[in-house]
């Protein structure tokens, strides 16, 4: 069964227990996506499926044929970094870096969600346009934990990308 990952086709067959995360790391060699808790609590495994962020540890590879998956390798490369990657470097949005691929995939999806008008729990007006304030960013990024505690720099990095786009 074919899955499109970073615009390239991959073939999955094998044990149906394989999570999308294990398929990416073990079978596709895409080790940018990290395994943290493996239970959907930490967000290190966040990838984009058809543009939406999900925890790749809590879904089976077998459920995704026909889907288009984007991992951190599909967002940018060391020589051609995504604006979020460059901003994380500039603002020290990490210490150990283990959560960073998930943070960046998540942030990219958050920007798209806000552009589509999706509210969050802290949005005062459910019908209004969304402005990604630091409070909104913290709420919307709460599914990505950083044990090093680089949160304030992560918010700064995201804010800079948002300002550059505005």
């Amino acid at each position: 069964m074919p899955l499109t990952i970073n615009e390239r086709e991959y073939e999955f067959e094998g044990d149906p227990r394989t999570s999308l995360l294990d398929f990416l790391r073990r079978d596709c060699g895409l080790t940018g996506t990290k395994k943290g808790c493996d239970h959907g609590q930490c967000g290190a495994c966040t990838v984009l499926v058809n543009g939406q962020r999900i925890n790749s540890c809590l879904t089976l590879a077998a459920m995704h044929d026909g889907d288009s998956i984007t991992t951190i390798e599909g967002l940018g490369t060391p020589t051609d970094m995504h604006p979020l990657q460059a901003a994380f470097v500039k603002h020290d949005g990490y210490q150990c870096g283990y959560c960073t691929p998930g943070q960046i995939c998540s942030a990219q999806a958050m920007i798209d969600e806000a552009a589509n008008g999706w509210p969050s729990f802290v949005s005062e007006d459910l019908a209004g346009t969304i402005s990604l304030t630091p409070e909104e960013i913290r709420e919307r990024m709460s599914g990505n934990l950083c044990r090093c505690g680089a949160y304030s720099n992560i918010v700064d990095a995201i804010l800079e990308v948002l300002e550059a786009r505005a």
């Binding site: 044990d15 149906p16 227990r17 999570s19 493996d38 239970h39 959907g40 967000g43 966040t46 939406q52 962020r53 999900i54 925890n55 809590l58 879904t59 089976l60 077998a62 459920m63 998540s106 999806a109 958050m110 969600e113 589509n116 008008g117 999706w118 509210p119 969050s120 729990f121 949005s123 459910l126 019908a127 913290r138 709420e139 919307r140 709460s142 599914g143």
Partner: protein
């Protein structure tokens, strides 16, 4: 994870037949796969229902029908839900994270299992996981557990937020069976109290599959969802309240309240709604409402705090909904 066979249903009735034969339907999988990794759930066969035509949100008479496979994200972002049922959007947005809500479905969220620590720990006795093995929570650490409607078999809570709002809205669960039959159950009657069958979370019979949820006509008035939890994001409710309150002049014309975090099911007590209707709002009235809510309340040690917390939260919600200041 134990090995299992993975099959994809090519139709609703087929999915229900497979489920009747013991297969577990899987949609978003965010709860089921988590439990399978811990071997709390050990199905021999999964039936993937994701490609069944059970998505979409559409007008249904004067109400709205939300397909079983609509993601929590899509439901909370839907313009009609945000405009006419803000309590539902707020409740969904208070739960989990964007990543999880993008996968979690309407039907799966209704069937979400308890977060009782002992249910999750396959090394400990748990009547819900293994009937007859005993309840580790009653004399254990039970900070997140029930204070209403528990039994000597189980004091677990239903952990979700969406269903609490659906209870206040008096929504209906639409269910298909393996023989092509259909039935509807009020969300208020969908989840069970544990009694002596704590392994049974809800009234679904083997093989029954949820096809959608119907919201009645918009109720108007003020709609609130307040959630009290240990941290301000990505945490389950200790106490939550969904409230629909319509004022006329200085009087409460109607009220519909539902409570999360207190019981094995989203809690709804008709007497509270009846008490409030037609009355002038006051702190004394709100205290009487809390008296009714907490009439049979019982703490188990670590969760004693939930009883006064529920009273204070109810009063705060009613003050906000009616405009009465303390």
């Amino acid at each position: 994870m134990k090995p299992f066979e993975y099959v994809r249903a090519d139709g609703l009735t087929r999915a229900a037949q497979l489920a009747r034969a013991g297969a577990r339907p899987i949609a978003g999988g965010t709860n089921l796969l988590d439990l399978m990794k811990l071997q709390v759930e050990t199905p021999d066969r999964l039936v993937d229902v994701n490609r069944l035509p059970l998505g979409g949100i559409e007008a249904d008479g004067d109400g709205l029908r939300i397909g079983a496979l609509v993601s929590n994200s899509a439901c909370a972002a839907d313009e009609r839900v945000r405009r006419d049922y803000p309590v539902l959007a707020r409740a969904i947005l208070s739960a989990a994270t964007f990543q999880l809500r993008n996968k979690a479905t309407t039907a799966g969220n209704l069937c979400q299992r308890t977060r009782c620590y002992y249910f999750y720990n396959a090394d400990m006795p748990c009547n819900k996981r293994e009937p007859g093995s005993g309840c580790s929570a009653i004399d254990g650490y039970n900070r997140i557990h029930a204070v209403l409607g528990a039994s000597d078999q189980c004091i677990a809570t239903y952990p979700g937020d969406m269903a609490v709002a659906l209870c206040a809205l008096d929504a209906t669960v639409q269910i298909a069976d393996p023989d092509g039959g259909r039935r509807e159950v009020a969300v208020r009657a969908f989840h069970r109290l544990p009694g002596d069958r704590p392994e049974k979370d809800n009234v679904l019979e083997p093989g029954e599959v949820i096809t959608g949820v119907r919201l009645p006509a918009p109720a108007g008035g003020k709609q609130l969802y307040r959630k009290v939890r240990d941290r301000s994001s990505y945490a389950f409710a200790l106490v939550s309240i969904a409230a629909l309150v319509r004022m006329e002049g200085g009087t409460i014309a109607s009220a519909s309240l539902a409570f999360g975090g207190l019981a094995h099911k989203p809690w709804h007590d008709e007497r509270i709604d009846q008490l409030l209707a037609g009355k002038e709002p006051s702190d004394a009235l709100f205290d009487r409402a809390a008296d009714l809510l907490l009439e049979g309340a019982r703490g188990y040690g670590s969760n004693d705090f939930k009883i006064p917390m529920a009273r204070r939260t109810l009063k705060a919600v009613l003050r906000e909904a009616t405009g009465v200041s303390a």
